[in-house]
Symmetry: C2
Subunit: 154 residues, 2 copies
């Protein structure tokens, strides 16, 4: 990768140059919370991202080493996007953003029980989410979701 001109060496600016737009973190959210994996999955989210923006953001996240693209194991016409360790390390940021949105949006769709649960033991819950995503699961969707794991513990 050609070295690009950077605005500064501030660590917050470093993040903004990689994912600081209104769409990139929604793709990461789709993977972490809803187990989405393909271009078509991301296209079908509530926010209705445009195809050209989606393609652009996926390429940018790949270039920054946040996502990796691999062939779909069954359908060879498709590709599967997964988070690298660098991407999995964005999860604490997502969790704090979800907290903030849930607190200040009177019309939030965030399940309050989930927000309360995460905050009751934040460090460990973040670790559980990260482990789940590392193993191919997600928070809410799929057979090996965080929600399922927590239910099995009870």
């Amino acid at each position: 990768m050609k070295k690009q001109l950077r605005r500064s060496n501030c660590p917050i600016n470093f993040g903004l140059e990689a994912f600081g737009d209104t769409w990139s973190l929604l793709i990461i959210r789709d993977i972490v919370y809803f187990g989405k994996k393909t271009y078509g999955d991301f296209l079908r989210s509530d926010e209705r991202i445009a195809t050209n923006i989606l393609a652009n953001r996926l390429a940018q996240l790949e270039r920054h080493g946040i996502l990796v693209k691999t062939p779909h194991p069954i359908d060879r016409r498709k590709e599967v996007y997964t988070l690298t360790e660098k991407g999995i390390d964005l999860i604490p940021i997502l969790v704090e953003m979800a907290n903030w949105g849930a607190k200040y949006d009177p019309d939030t769709g965030a399940p309050q029980e989930w927000i309360a649960l995460v905050n009751s033991d934040k460090e460990n819950m973040i670790r559980l989410i990260q482990d789940t995503v590392r193993e191919g699961g997600s928070v809410f969707v799929g057979p090996n979701s965080v929600i399922d794991r927590l239910a099995q513990r009870e």
Copy 2:
């Protein structure tokens, strides 16, 4: 304020619609870490924000209730921007972003001692930063900075 059309009721999307661009969080960073307060202060940061973008982002952050603008106590030609409680609640997000940038940017300007210090007792350090900002101080700059407070404790 007229109700705008929203993309979804996702709490992460809520944040992105308020501050999801490459500049807004740099303004919040300038206030929290460096005690900046005026239009001229923000204009002089390393990233060299353009005047029209700065004016646009300040207005947007005010509209979202993250910043408030008041007359400068001495120089009446200036205005002072401060964080509301809603803005102070963005500090955990900034801290997590700084962690991520410091970890993954080989050329980071983040002081590693500071990053280690924050992570050694994250919840309390975030609370200390928030209290300091609430009282008009900042992390690194000014007579009542977080750095000074910590030094006085020793």
